[in-house]
Every structure is written in C-alpha cells, then in structure tokens.
C-alpha cells in the first residue's frame, strides 16, 4: 500500500530524513517509532504530500507523491501533531467542511459526518465550538476529520500525545478498530503504544532507518540474552552477598550476576543467562545453600529496551531524563 524508497529530506544544514526505505502492506497498523526529532513528522509530511522529498520516492496506493499528489491526497487521511481545527467552527460544520474539501459530494457528506461522529465518539459535541473542546475531544475530532472520506491510508502523528491515560486507551481502541478498513501508520515515542496497537514497527533515529520488523520478531530478536531477576533472603536474616554472588556465578549458563537492590532487606540479583540455562538449577542451588528463594522471574525485554539497544546511548539518556521528570 505504501512504498518508500531512499526517501531523503535535506534542510539547509541538516538532513532530517536520510535514505529511508520501507513498505507497508494493506490493512496493517504500523508503528513509526523514534525519539523526538528523529524525522518521524518529516517522513509523514512527505507521505502526505505536504513536503516534497529532496530525493528518493514514495508511493501511496500506487500513486507517486511528487507526480500525482492530488490522487495521493484523495486516498490519505492525515492527523498532524496538533489537530488542524478551526476554533471558530462547530464540530459538525468543521467535519462537513473537511468532507467537502476531500471531495465528498453533498449527500454523502452528511451521512459520513454522522458516521464518523459516532465512530470517534464526538456525537455529543456536534454543535459545540471547536475552540471550546477539551484536549481529548479535539484529538478525536482530529481523528474523525482524518477518516471522513474513508481513505485507504491513515497517517497519524502522535495521536495520543497529551491525553490522559483513559483517553489514551480510548484512542488506542479506536485506532485498533479502524485497522480493518484502513492501512494505518502512526508515529509515537511511547513504546507500549506500539506493543499494544501495532503489528509492525519501523524504528528511525536521527533520520536513519534503524529497524523494521514485526513486533514479535523484534522482541524475540532482543531476547537472545534473557535475564532473570531473583530475590534471595538469608535464613537467619543475614546474607553474605559476595558468597551468594560467587555461588550464583558457578551455575551453568549464567554469564553475569549483578546485585541490584537491597530494598527493605530484599536482596535482588539480576542474572544474565545464555543458552543452556535452566531456572531449576538456579532454584536448587539457592535452596541447597540454605537461603530462601523468595522470587524468581524472567525480566521480559520490553520494546523500550530493544529501542534503546537499537538507538544507542544518546537516546537512552534522553528517555532516562524524561523518566526522571
């Protein structure tokens, strides 16, 4: 449905998007992932014919974005980072305007407006001024606007940014619901969002494509080295950490043992394992040494960690800084 080949966008001094290539199949939800300033928005703007690429090509539904922009635009619904709303318009009036602008005929417009209002749960604010709507409603009206002409492709730029958790869930539900009829690309820097909504991930960093794969494959790929968290307590309350460390390191298949925390007398070790590691061995070793095994669980690698692995240190610091806030 979407084919992007060597897409490049250069500004005066910087390269925003650098030879990015990927393909999106019909009916898929694709997560477009990257830290802030990675080139997500620029790529999306090129796909929607808002920006012309410096070099390379992109086709949407078989039409080239440079050669036949009008045909492409007819088939794309686009929700920019800030929903493009006119504050002085009422919701229904605005949706009618967009519908007509996208080429719907007079009789179709009213039907579609009713439909998308229902679908995006904005029917109750139909006669309200857009300028008076809350953030969640604005976002949903933005989505309604994007699907008003029933486009083949939906491009959503950070559709859940700035919403509260409940609204985020609702929006994700809505996007998942739309997947059947539309091919969807959504950009985000929130990883769980991709894990929950998307089938495929495209990760870019500093304008370059880092990885493109299905969510499961990416997770499997990064799980080559599985890590396990184990909480150990001494029988009489005291525990010699270095002894534990040594003991654990002797177990077959364990490559590294790291003491993590002793929070309220809970001693947690993170254990990185290789092939051939059996959790039973670990449990037995702990018990035989006379310690209590309070907890033993695999630390499943989240997309977040994969993402950090792939995009490197700089992004890691950025995310850490964000987490601290």
């Amino acid at each position: 449905m979407i084919t992007v080949k060597d897409l490049t966008k250069k500004y005066a001094r910087t390269i925003a998007v650098d030879h990015v290539s990927f393909e999106v199949q019909k009916g898929q939800i694709v997560g477009f992932l990257g830290p802030n300033g990675a080139g997500k928005t620029t790529t999306m703007r090129m796909l929607t014919c808002f920006l012309p690429p410096t070099s390379g090509s992109a086709t949407v539904a078989g039409f080239d974005v440079l050669e036949q922009p009008l045909e492409v635009k007819k088939r794309i619904g686009y929700l920019p980072e800030t929903p493009p709303l006119y504050p002085e318009m009422e919701t229904a009036e605005y949706l009618k305007f967009v519908g007509r602008l996208k080429g719907l005929s007079g009789s179709d417009v009213n039907k579609r407006v009713d439909y998308v209002c229902e679908r995006c749960a904005v029917a109750d604010v139909k006669t309200k001024l857009l300028g008076k709507l809350s953030k969640g409603y604005r976002q949903r009206v933005g989505l309604a606007q994007a699907i008003i002409h029933n486009p083949d492709v939906l491009i959503l730029d950070e559709p859940t940014a700035g919403l509260d958790p409940k609204q985020i869930n609702e929006t994700r539900e809505l996007i998942r619901g739309l997947a059947g009829d539309h091919t969807i690309i959504l950009s985000t820097h929130i990883l769980p969002e991709v894990e929950q909504t998307c089938q495929q991930v495209i990760i870019i960093n500093k304008g370059k494509l880092v990885a493109t794969d299905s969510v499961q494959n990416l997770q499997a790929r990064a799980r080559g080295a599985e890590s396990v968290l184990v909480e150990i307590a001494g029988r009489n309350g005291s525990l010699d950490l270095s002894v534990v460390q040594k003991k654990l390191e002797q177990i077959r298949g364990i490559s590294r043992v790291q003491y993590k925390t002793s929070h309220a007398n809970r001693n947690v070790f993170e254990i990185e394992s290789q092939k051939g590691f059996v959790r039973g061995d670990l449990a037995r070793a702990v018990v035989e040494a006379g310690w209590d095994l309070n907890e033993l669980r695999p630390a499943a690698m989240s997309l977040e960690e994969i993402f950090l692995q792939l995009t490197g240190e700089e992004a890691a610091q950025e995310v850490a800084a964000k987490g601290a806030n």
Binding site: C49, K74, P80, T82, Y86, L101, K102
Partner: protein, 255 residues
C-alpha cells in the same frame, strides 16, 4: 471551481463569526457617510450662493459630489484592506490548519483564489453600504449613473490589487499583526508614491508615480473607463496572486 467555492464559503463565514466583518462594515459605512454628508453640505451651500448672486453656475452632482466621494472611498479603502487580508494565511499557519488545506486534494491556486475572492466579497459588501448614500442622490437629484458604475468598478479593481498584495503578505508570517502592519505600510506607500509627480518630472518620478494605485484611479473617478488603468489593476491582482502561490510553494520547501 467547486473547491474555490468551498474555501470561499469557509472564509466568508469566518469573517462573520468574529466581530471583524461587522466592525469593518460599520466603520466604513460611518466614515463614508460622514464624507457624503460633508460633500452634500458643501454642494448645497454652493447652490444657494449661486442663486443669491443671481448667476447660475453649472452645478453637477457627478462632478461635485460623486467624484470626490469616490476618490475618498478609494483612500479609506487603503486603511481597511490590511484588516481584511491579515488573517487569511497567517492564522492558518499559526493554528496549523494550513496542513489540513495542503494535504487535501485541492490545488494551491484554488485555495488562494477562494480566499482572495472572500476578501473581495467582503470589500464589495462594504461598498454596497456606500451605495445607500448615492441612492439619496438618485431620489432627489438626477445624476448620471454610468460614471458612478465605472467609479465602483475602479474601486473594486483597485481593492482587488491591494487585497492580492495583502494575501501575499499574509503568507509570509504566522503573526496576523505583522501581516496587517506590513500590508498597511505597502498600501500607504503605493498611495503616496504619486506625490513625487508634484515636484519632479524626471523619468524615475514618472515611473514611481505610475506605480501608485491612486494615479490609476483618476480616470475611474471621472467616470472614464481607461483600459490602460484597468490593465494596471488587473496586473497587480495577477502579480499579487502569483506571488502568493509562489510563497505557498516555498512554504512547503522550507517549513
């Protein structure tokens, strides 16, 4: 064609949901009404004087009331035009709605012409209110309607050119105030350029004064349809809209 209409309708409506259209219509009608009242008062005084002296001057409504009023209208127009055009593109750029327009299956030129036509319609509506004043002249006097019609045509053409320039300037910034102030400056400059012809006859002065929008209104206010002047205004409209479309294009390359 349909897209121009859609854009026009949206712009037209947005003029009237904010107070701007009502404000402009009221102010223009008030100021023009005041000029009309003045011109008529002067005209009546002249008439009485000529009667008292016993000698009848040839008194002509067209020459002594309509013509100066049309000239006045063209000058007041210069002050109102920035307020009509300043938000056309600047506001869309500020709120990000330009992205909606630019990613819809609509040509740039259709957007531009739709917006410009909406501005034209608002200006024409402002003129419509001034026609009320002239209606009194027709009720109690007997002026010639043809020069008046040509005068109105001139006003529309002149405004068309300035509105096109204002539309262009509005694409250059996301700040309405800056767009308005810049347009006002350009309008004012295009008005006063004519003054150089008062003391200088060299070629450069002629060129400068030729570029003044007021110079070309002379003939229209007299009720003469001079193709040369009409073509000047049409050229300004064309150039203004052309620059607007270039500017929109470059917006895409830059932003």
């Amino acid at each position: 064609m349909r897209n121009i209409w859609i854009i026009w309708r949206k712009e037209w409506r947005s003029y009237f949901v904010s107070p701007i259209a009502y404000l402009l219509l009221t102010m223009f009608a008030l100021i023009f009404g005041f000029f009309f009242w003045n011109a008529l008062g002067y005209f009546v005084l002249m008439g009485m004087e000529s009667q008292m002296r016993g000698q009848m001057f040839p008194m002509n409504l067209n020459e002594e009331v309509i013509r100066p009023l049309l000239s006045n209208a063209s000058v007041i127009g210069l002050f109102f035009i920035p307020m009509i055009t300043m938000r056309l593109f600047a506001e869309e750029k500020r709120t990000g709605t330009i992205e909606l327009l630019a990613t819809s299956p609509v040509r740039d030129l259709e957007i531009i012409i739709g917006k410009w036509l909406a501005a034209m319609t608002l200006y024409a509506t402002m003129l419509l209110f001034t026609a009320l004043n002239f209606a009194f002249l027709f009720k109690y006097g007997n002026p010639d309607w043809k020069p008046l019609a040509i005068g109105y045509l001139g006003l529309l053409l002149q405004a068309g050119g300035l509105l096109a320039i204002g539309t262009f300037i509005s694409t250059l910034t996301r700040n309405q105030i800056i767009a308005g102030a810049a347009t006002f400056g350009v309008c004012l400059l295009l008005w006063v350029l004519e003054w150089v012809s008062g003391y200088e006859t060299a070629t450069w002065a002629k060129v400068l004064s030729y570029m003044s929008v007021i110079t070309h209104f002379e003939s229209f206010s007299k009720g003469v349809l001079d193709t040369k002047d009409a073509i000047f205004y049409l050229t300004v409209i064309f150039v203004g809209l052309f620059f607007t479309s270039r500017s929109m294009e470059s917006l895409r390359w830059r932003s």
